[in-house]
Amino acid sequence: MFCGKQRRIVCVWFPRLASDGALRAHPLEGPFALTLRQGNAERLHCLNRAAEAAGLFRGMALAEARVFCAALQTRPADLHREAQLLAALRRWATRYSPWVGLEGEDGLALDITGAAHLFGGEAGVLADLRARLSRAGFTACLGLASSRGAAWALAHHGEGVAPPGADLAAIAGLPVAALRLAPETVTALQRLGLRHVGDLARTPRAPLARRFGAALLDRLDAATGATPEPLTPGAEPPRFALRLTLPDPIGLVADVQAGTARLLAALCERLAAQQAGARVLRLTLRRVDRDTQEVELRLAAALRDPARILPLFTRGIEAVDAGFGIDQLRLEAVQVEPLPAEQLGTTTAPGDPTRLGDLLSRIGTRIGLENILRLLPADSHVPERGFLTAPAVFSRPASGWNAPRPRPLVLFPPEPVAAAGSTPPRAFRWRRMALSTARAEGPERLAPEWWFDDPAWRSGLRDYWRIETWQGRRLWLFHTPQEPGWWVQGEFA
């Protein structure tokens, strides 16, 4: 195809991927199946060999299956886990060739062009694949051909190898379903008497295209190699995790720090290559008794400077119980954010955002980053809801404050004051202090927000007064006319 060389594609089909995966984790004897809820019924999703031998099949209702086979053991299927398993197998298969893609939900396609000699030729690749997969407990059907379509056909219909350039000859005897056609097309072709791929290839193309559309011929051409079909290798997302395994256990804080420093330097290099910065880091320390200790570090800003991150680990590492010693360190950037390279200034003056971020990270390791708060404006005339507090490192400072009327500097939950009437009391007691009113400004009537059911505002309207006392204190009192009473809610500067 390109550079005069035939592509060679291996298709691996796992007919029992999900049940093999489930049985690998928790082995069982006897018929076993995974069930999936479809509509209103539990149906068999994936069966092991014993269950298939008992006459069960995929898509069968579970109740029916139990009648046929009383010994059937089942577990619920997990499609997400299944996809993860296939992705892991795909990653593993890159040992044969760098060009490995997924083939549907239960298969892999490997482009082994030019890589087969590393395993002693194509037969060597297939034998190695089969041996390793069966040792791992997976049933696999392999097909090798020059095109993806032919490899798929061979894998799904009896396995086999098509010699280079002889794809059509190899699949000519296979049923038309081997061309990855829709079931209704397959039925229609069979009704016409076109049962095998070979029959289809010998039939004039124009009437076929008229009857079944271009899709059928596209599939046929892809299988015979007449039109190329690309193979998309899975993306390799960058992995920000490293580990360091030690020949002898360590226990001193300084030693663990030194190990962490090594991992951190390498991790930061990876982060720099991806123009990313770590936001959350996790250091997992495995002890010789197989217990693991975790140190989690949350940073105030995305960072990839080992010299700035390492001191932040000190506190966490000191708190670790090393037991009989630690023999493996694993450092992972759990949360990564893009961090483009920046022009560095020559000075780091106080007030520099990066220095502030470092300080907040350090404080955050002690009290938690979510406990460093910032005040943000909120759209409410209710005093206690007129502002928001948000974690400083996850928000930006906001402006747009407005206070049309003076507001107290300090606000506290309302404290009752013994007084009556709708005009401010002349003298009252608050916090065991006898206070007398010198001047009163108000009232400023605030209505509760009916769209919130705030227990504190159930007493209805509030008439706020700014009271200046002869004793000096400037207080914010309110009167609730609907449920008469006086309360102190704040103090002015």
Partner: protein
């Protein structure tokens, strides 16, 4: 009326000061007003009193304020020490709920000296630490005439390691962002 400077005010940077009395919060806000950098306000999470940004507006831009909520005073002190030592935050305000012993007070002083930041402890009456550079008592006063700028205070300097003590009647002018000493009062 005169603009007599108050000895000890503005607070000496690189030291830790203390303020008590009912006007302590406003005192801290006035101390934070002249700068432009962030202000770290450390308080314990269980405290019932909350600072309101609208109330801070006459003194400083609430966006400058960072509030650290801690569980215990030990955490508060650790955060204050860290922030003072770093010096990135020019003013660190620490709400103290139990008296500091000499060791804690001294550690804060050393941290402030290392970082060059100013520390201000809001202390309950009579809970001062011997290590403090200055100690103030701020009490609000009744304004002679009503008005939005009527925020007079009586500031008493009750301890000053490097200067004289005294008492002053001061007034914060929100419009000009300026502290005015009304008159030196004698008692």
């Amino acid at each position: 009326m005169s603009d007599t400077p108050i000895p000890g005010y503005p607070l000496r940077p690189g030291r830790v000061h203390e303020v008590c009395g009912p006007g302590a919060t406003a005192f801290a806000a006035i101390c934070a007003a002249p700068g432009t950098g962030p202000v770290l306000w450390i308080r314990e999470a269980h405290s019932r009193e909350a600072l309101t940004p609208q109330g801070l507006l006459p003194f400083l831009d609430p966006a400058r304020l960072l509030i650290a909520q801690t569980r215990t005073q030990a955490d508060s002190l650790a955060v204050a020490e860290e922030a003072l030592k770093d010096g990135t935050v020019p003013l660190v305000v620490l709400a103290v709920t139990r008296p500091l012993d000499l060791r804690e007070g001294r550690r804060l002083q050393l941290a402030a000296g290392a970082g060059g930041a100013t520390g201000l402890c809001l202390i309950p009456e009579g809970m001062g630490s011997n290590a403090a550079e200055t100690r103030w008592r701020a009490t609000p006063r009744l304004a002679p005439q009503p008005g939005p700028d009527s925020t007079p205070f009586r500031w008493e300097s009750i301890k000053n390691k490097s200067g004289t003590t005294g008492a002053w009647d001061v007034l914060w002018e929100a419009a000009t962002h300026r502290l005015r000493v009304v008159s030196p009062s004698r008692e």
